[in-house]
Each structure stands twice: as C-alpha cells, then as structure tokens.
C-alpha cells in the first residue's frame, strides 16, 4: 500500500514541530527547528552528525542510520551527547527525499530543568504543545499546596492552643480537673504507686468578703506558686474548685515524707500576703491518700478519700494534714451527720 504523501513548506514544519530535525542518508543534520537550534547553539556544538550530538538511550545500541531506520515509528529516548542531564523523547519517520529522516523531539519529565537552562519562553513551544499548561499546572499546584500547608499549620496551632486552654485553669495557670483526670488515668494505667494531696484553703471566703475578689485572686495565685514550688516535674498540681487544690505525687508513698510536705505547704500558705495596706491571712487543711493503701487503686476513690481526710483535718481544727483511713473517715462522717442533725 502506498501512503499519501504530504508536502509542507519547511516553515510550516518549524511552526508545528519547533524541536524537529532532518537527517540525510549519512546521518548528517541538515536542518533543525527553531527551538532545537536554540538548544544546540547554546551548547556550542556544531550540529554535524546526529549520533555525535545525540545518544540513543532506549532502545539501546542504536548508533547508525540503518539502526535508526529500523526503529521508525517507535518511541525513542535520547540524551544530549554534550549534556547527559537533558533527557529527550523522540520519534523518527522517513522524510521526503529518499533516505531522508525526520526526528521530532520533546522534553519529557525534564522540562522544568530544560526550560530553566535554555531560557525557553512560551514562543519556543508549538501553539498546540501542552508544555506551558504543564508548567502552569506544576506552579499552580505548588502554590496551592503551599497555601494549604500554611492553613493547616495555622489550624493546628489554633487547635493546640484551644486544647491547652481546655486543660488549664485560667486564673492560676494550673491544670484543671479535666487535665487532672487525664493525668490520673495515664499514671494508674502504668501501675506505678502515687499519692493524692487534697488541699482546701481555710479562711479564704473571709479574705474575699473583706478585701474583695482582687485579693482573693492574689491569694489563689500565691497558693498556686507555693504548690508548684513543692512538686517535682513528674508531679501535677491542679485547681479543682474555688479554693480547692489537688497535688499528685508520683512514686512517693512514704506517709512521713508526704505529711512533712503537707505541713510545709500549710506553713508557706499561712505566711501573710500583703494586699495594699492590708495583709491576707489564710491557712489550709490537707487530706492524703496513697495508692499503696488499696488492693486495687482507683483514682476516683482516692480523690474522694483524700477529700474525706481533708474534712477530718478541718474538723480537728484546721491547718493540719490527715492521712485517709477508713475507720476515722467513717467516724468523721458520723460526727458530721450528727452535727447536721442537731442544726
């Protein structure tokens, strides 16, 4: 079957395929399209023999015109002899004259690199070439991704702040009850011993009523500083009510040491706090529970028991620390109930 022959002026081929070249029978380059000329000139290689200028990488081992003719119509991959980093895709077909060959080339995935190196512009690509659209798309996607990344970061930071805020007591900066519960569930799951100190301020209401809320806030901040100064990094101080605090000591189970700590805290809290010309005087009652007191330590139970021990301290005249024990707690509750019944 004889194929239809189409004859085009050379300029038309240059316009449609600005990266094509024509070879004669011996493989001499007799013409290059404008964009290819720009690339070859800028490499200072006198365009002579095709195989001196280009290396066929795939299929391999083709270095003669005869070999090239055998690959007409097949996808070809070239490198520039003078610059191996430039990858070109190509396809070869028989040209117009007998023995002539036309090879059309394009940049494959190395287009970004090539455009930069040869300073190519929109004019260097055929109007039908999607190269510009591809470059546009790469850039647009990069910009969009960068934008998304930045938004993500901002949202992430906002979430972290919100999270932090939801776990912090606003006035004192201590942990709040929520953070305390999270901390306790974390350490109980580790099965390490720990102690709970429940601290209830005495005469706080009097300070608030006498000097106002500003004085009350000052006192609370002062107490939180004292408590934070009494713990190690692995412990936790939380404000769990208006004038109630909980301290968790990890791995500390000695009743003596815990009692000492509690008494030291009470002594610190009792130091007068100047407020204007006045002095705020408060004290504290402390209740202690220790995980080793229990067969199966349950943090909720231990918080309640430390709270109950605090009440015993209060009933005994305040400013003291009491270790929870079942019997006395029960007695104390009975006393309270009697008191309530009498009133």
């Amino acid at each position: 079957m004889i194929e239809d022959q189409v004859t085009l002026p050379s300029g038309a081929l240059d316009g449609m395929l600005p990266m094509h070249l024509r070879l004669d029978t011996d493989g001499l380059i007799v013409h290059t399209g404008p964009t290819l000329s720009k690339i070859l000139d800028s490499r200072d290689t006198p365009a002579a023999n095709f195989f001196d200028t280009f290396v066929l990488r795939r299929p391999r081992g083709v270095a003669t015109m005869e070999g090239l003719r055998a690959k007409f119509g097949q996808p070809l991959h070239f490198q520039l002899q003078a610059d191996k980093s430039v990858q070109l895709k190509g396809i070869a077909f028989p040209g117009e004259g007998s023995g002539d060959t036309v090879v059309n080339l394009s940049f494959g995935i190395s287009i970004m690199e090539a455009v930069r190196r040869y300073e190519l512009t929109g004019d260097d690509f055929a109007a039908t070439d999607l190269a510009i659209e591809m470059l546009y798309l790469v850039e647009a996607k990069t910009v969009a991704m960068e934008d998304t990344r930045r938004l993500n970061q901002r949202l992430h930071a906002a979430r972290a702040t919100a999270e932090e805020r939801s776990r912090t007591d606003e006035l004192t900066g201590l942990s709040n009850r929520r953070a305390l519960e999270q901390f306790l569930s974390r350490i109980t799951s580790r099965l390490k011993p720990f102690a709970v100190l429940h601290i209830d301020l005495d005469y706080f209401k009097k300070v608030n009523d006498t000097y106002g809320h500003a004085a009350g806030d000052l006192v609370l901040r002062n107490v939180s500083k004292i408590l934070e100064g009494s713990v190690r990094a692995e412990d936790l101080v939380a404000r769990v009510g208006g004038d109630e605090f909980v301290v968790i000591f990890q791995s500390e189970t000695s009743t003596d040491i815990l009692h000492d700590i509690a008494m030291r805290i009470i002594a610190e809290i009792e130091k007068p706090i100047p407020f204007g010309t006045a002095e705020c005087l408060i004290s504290a009652s402390v209740g202690i529970s220790i995980s080793t007191q229990y067969d199966e330590p349950d943090s909720d139970r231990m918080l309640l028991d430390a709270d109950a021990a605090t009440y015993i301290s209060k009933n005994r005249g305040r400013a003291q620390a009491t270790l929870f024990d079942d019997a006395s707690a029960r007695r104390s509750r009975l006393v309270e109930r009697d008191d309530n019944a009498r009133n």
Partner: protein, 194 residues
C-alpha cells in the same frame, strides 16, 4: 472561591491601609466576620456573606467607593510582591499582552485546574478591531467586573503595554491597547527561579 477571595481582600486591606484600619473595618462589620482571617468562612458565598460585609465596612471606614476598592484589589492581586505567585500564574496566559487578553477565555478553567473549587464567572473576549476588545463577563457581578478592571490594568503594566480599560456597562469591559511595547515588561521566566 470565598476562601481565596476573603484572604486576598484581607491581605489587600492590611497591606494597603495598615493593621489598624483592617481591625477597624472588621470591628465595624457585622459580627459574622470573626472567622474571616482563618479563611474557612462560608466557602460558597463568592462576593456575598462576609466578603460583602467587609467590603461595605471598608467603604465606610476608608471613605472610598465600592468600585474603587474592588479596582484597587484587582491591581493589588497582580502588583504586590506578596502575590507574585498569582502574577506569574497569570503571565502563563501568553507571551504578549494581547495573547494574555485572549487567554482570559480560559481563565476560569485554568483557575479550576489549580484549585478545584475556585469558580470564576465565565468570560469571553471579543476582538472589535485590531487591539480593541470587549471582555464580556457573565453573571452580572459588579464587584468582580471592577476587580477585573484593576487586574487587567495592572497586567498591562506588567507586560509593559499601554492600554485603557473601562467598565462600559455591567458585564462589559472595553479594552484598547495603544502600544504593546510601551515600557519594559516585568521579567517572567517559565520556570520560577525560586
């Protein structure tokens, strides 16, 4: 659309008039704009909702007309160094300013290719005579038309062309290119050097 638009509007007002003015604008706008700067406010609203509130508030605070604000926004989008990425993307439209004008037909598609939920009104460029065009913008969105006037004017500067751009009626921009190489064009390489 709204996400990018609200951020562009905020950037424009902040960069041009300062943080104080921006805060004043937000404050005197309706209280719905508190999520404005997070860029996640009502994503489908276009020029409605928060964006409209902020534009309204800006006219009062800055004592400028809506048209002027939108035109200035269009200019800002192309000419401010912070938004060089956008200028570059627009320059991909063509090698010369008339080529760029012809590429405006494709702008909504190009925009959607970059950001899939970015919907711009469709546009058609009609060549009335050599270098005299009408850009028809569908959707009768006055704000968008004014923004395009500023944007195209700034692009003509970018290409170093001398052109006059006017909104003759809602949805119709008249563009007359007096000189394509009037001044030196701002540099544009196909692959960003950064």
């Amino acid at each position: 659309m709204n996400v990018l638009l609200s951020r562009a509007l905020e950037g424009f007002l902040r960069d041009t008039y300062g943080v104080d003015a921006w805060e004043q604008i937000v404050e005197s706008a309706d209280d719905g704009v508190e999520f404005f700067e997070s860029g996640i406010a009502d994503a489908a609203d276009g020029f409605g909702g928060d964006v409209a509130d902020v534009i309204d508030s800006a006219t009062t605070v800055l004592g400028k007309s809506r048209e002027d604000i939108m035109e200035d926004l269009g200019t800002y989008l192309v000419s401010h160094p912070n938004l060089d990425a956008l200028r570059r993307l627009l320059r991909f439209g063509g090698v010369t300013f008339p080529d760029f004008l012809l590429s405006l037909d494709d702008l909504p598609d190009r925009a959607r290719l970059a950001v899939s939920d970015l919907r711009l009104p469709s546009m058609e460029l009609i060549e009335r005579a050599p270098l005299r065009y009408d850009l028809m913008i569908r959707g009768r969105n006055t704000e968008f038309c004014h923004m395009m006037v500023g944007l195209i004017r700034a692009m003509s500067d970018d290409y170093g062309s001398l052109a006059s751009i006017e909104l003759t009626e809602t949805g119709r921009l008249s563009i007359v290119v007096h000189q394509t190489e009037f001044a030196e064009a701002k540099p544009f390489e196909l692959v960003s050097s950064q």
